[in-house]
Symmetry: none
Subunit: 415 residues, 2 copies
């Protein structure tokens, strides 16, 4: 039993928009145990639409389409469905009333074209659209089903969840769910993670395992198909424990956890405060920290010292030190961390200085060289990193490493 | 002549990620006049990968795959391509050296698995990957071509643009191009933009027009299919002039222009410098400004004053003023702008104070209330904004408004 998703629209084929509908639909289907075997994006071309619907309906029990149900001339999906399934179009009075009411409510004169949307293929069950005018359609085809949605994501999302998902669960759900857990790792390369857990990755049976790289972050994903949440959790937890026993402290979180959130929770729990002075990351570290609601409880000050003068004036770093070692140096990063902590008497201070590129590199100090320092009342440590990538990537990777240094420091503060 | 894009990965089929690679690839192909006739997303299943490659290669001249080229056991695309095309795998010494150098540069021990990535199908032209280890591949197949990329977007993007696009342009480009121009507007609502240029949007013929809303930014897009750049530009420029004559100074840029870049160019040209003090935006404004290479020429200092103490200590804002008006007030934002400018003697100072939510709101000061001040030697102005959205959206919209205030101020400084 499988589903396929067909997304129809020239704007997808031209790359003007990303296909987020297919992602949404597959994700929701997985939550009720239905696997998506294919996504197909095709242009607003009647022959292609008709042949794709026929082909896909041949291969899978569930076909879901998005796009082309609107009132304009380039909305041809309804017509194509009718032809592909060889069904008559029948005028639906209830839908026409809804469309008229929609325009009345918005005090806009209804274009005559809109009533086309009230013509439904024989046997179709309409799905109400509470945001736009185009209804969705559930069309049973023998023991299979074709479900059609308008392409606007914020119209599709509620329609899918409230109607189609309920219908599919009742009719096709196998008493099975697909559940995933993501284990999030930082401080190790993808290939190193792979090496450490290679045997676990090769678990046979219905468990799918995958490793996905992100900037200075690796995701290990466990996916199982089981009869219910409890059975799924049982298997996932067992594998998770194995992974944990190998990767230990390199694991910083799970599923939707973000490093800045985890660090924030630690700081909040330990009642510790933080100030940062950043140079090459240019405010990105402060920005990530303050993306977390309630961060004002622990985050007190950020300084983006983008000039030697500001490092000297505000952070009291002697010009001699900057001249002797350079602004990108262990010495300067350490002083940034220490002095910003002193400025507002916080428990922790972070200092970052590096070369994000593309300009500013020298033979001895290449693009991607970054010094990150962490200062506490007891001591100040500083680490050297060499990151690869664009300016934005180097900025981001530096903030990942800085947050991770703080994370690794914090649990000891908690104990 | 057409192209098809196959994206391979269980994480796509489970809806864990959106397929942004297909969008990127189609968009770039359109820019050299190559139409994408289909996107196909499929799971990490060897039979499906092999049969899809064969089928698609049958239908189209250009097949582009993404995903499954990494060093881990679930990366099986290379093997499947080899089988689908019936080609031998040959060890590529140059690639193996590059992979070794990648690890050496990062001072990390190379896992043996990584050398699998140096095995290439016979006749394949490798595409260098300057960020990760997996090379891309251009594989000519009679008069057609299969091009394979790793699935990580920030690796694929530069590889595609620098190598594959150049190759395809030379080998397949038709006497036609699809060209779009985006006109970027800020400071007006979508419906207002629509009203002002409604008649221009209804231009008939081969011109496609669209309005797309973004946070505190509206894009008007003109798309034409023409025989060459000159013919396309002729039509686009004519429509663009009409739009410009209506929307004037609300237009801040075109195509890939970003507000922070435009403002940076103005500052650079006028040889003016900037310092900022931000509260509710938490470093996002500094981060956006420093995303621009060379921004250190004009951006001198950012202060993220996330506590009243730091507003008082570092920015010399009297505690009495904070107590009397509140930290979210016209008075405090104005002092932030003025005092941060004084600290490093820059030409401009920006101050932002507001409530990003979800906490911190009161009856009189709701979430989304933001004060933005701009200070010059001559005077300091402050504006009140009321933004709607999540914490992140309010942060972002505030930075848009701040950058726009500076933009509107700057041309007069230039004249």
């Amino acid at each position: 039993m499988s589903a396929q998703v067909i997304c129809i629209g020239n704007e997808i084929m031209l790359g003007h928009i990303a296909n987020t509908n297919a992602q949404f639909i597959s994700n929701k289907l997985a939550s009720i145990g239905i696997k998506t075997s294919k996504h197909l994006d095709i242009p607003d071309n009647p022959e292609v639409i008709i042949s794709s619907i026929r082909e896909v309906l041949n291969e899978s029990e569930i076909v879901i389409t998005s796009g082309g149900l609107g009132p304009t001339v380039d909305d041809i999906t309804l017509e194509c469905i009718q032809k592909a399934l060889n069904k008559k179009l029948i005028f639906n009075k209830k839908i026409s009333e809804r469309i008229k009411a929609h325009f009345k409510r918005r005090k806009i004169k209804m274009p005559a074209n809109n009533l086309r949307q009230a013509l439904l293929p024989e046997g179709a069950i309409p799905i109400d659209n509470n945001i736009g005018t185009a209804p969705g359609l559930i069309i049973p085809v023998e023991n299979k089903v074709l479900i059609a949605f308008p392409g606007v994501p914020f119209e599709l999302y509620p329609m899918f969840e409230e109607t189609a998902l309920v219908y599919l669960k009742k009719k096709f759900s196998l008493g099975q769910i697909i559940k995933s857990r993501v284990i999030k790792i930082t401080g190790l390369a993808e290939s190193r993670v792979n090496e450490i857990i290679e045997d676990i990755l090769q678990i046979a049976g219905d468990v799918q395992m995958g490793i996905y790289p992100h900037p200075e972050e690796i995701h290990v994903k466990i996916t199982v198909t089981e009869k219910n949440e409890i059975a799924a959790d049982l298997i996932i937890n067992k594998i998770q424990k194995k992974v944990e026993s190998r990767l230990k402290n390199y694991i910083f979180g799970y599923d939707n956890d973000e490093l800045e959130e985890i660090v924030g929770k630690y700081l909040l729990r330990a009642k510790k405060t933080l100030a940062i002075a950043e140079s090459c990351t240019g405010g990105l570290l402060a920005n990530r920290i303050t993306d977390i609601p309630g961060s004002s409880s622990y985050f007190k000050l950020g300084i983006v010292s983008y000039s030697n003068e500001s490092k000297n004036n505000l952070l009291n770093i002697p010009m001699d030190t900057i001249k002797k070692y350079g602004s990108v140096s262990k010495q300067v990063a350490a002083l940034m961390a220490k002095n910003v902590r002193d400025l507002t008497s916080t428990d922790y201070g972070i200092g970052i200085s590096g070369i994000a590129g593309p300009g500013g590199a020298t033979n001895k100090k290449p693009t991607g060289l970054v010094y990150i320092a962490l200062s506490t009342k007891a001591k100040t440590i500083c680490k050297e990193f060499r990151f690869i990538g664009t300016r934005n990537l180097i900025k981001y990777k530096s903030t990942q490493a800085a947050l991770n240094m703080l994370r690794l420091w914090l649990p000891s503060a908690l104990s």
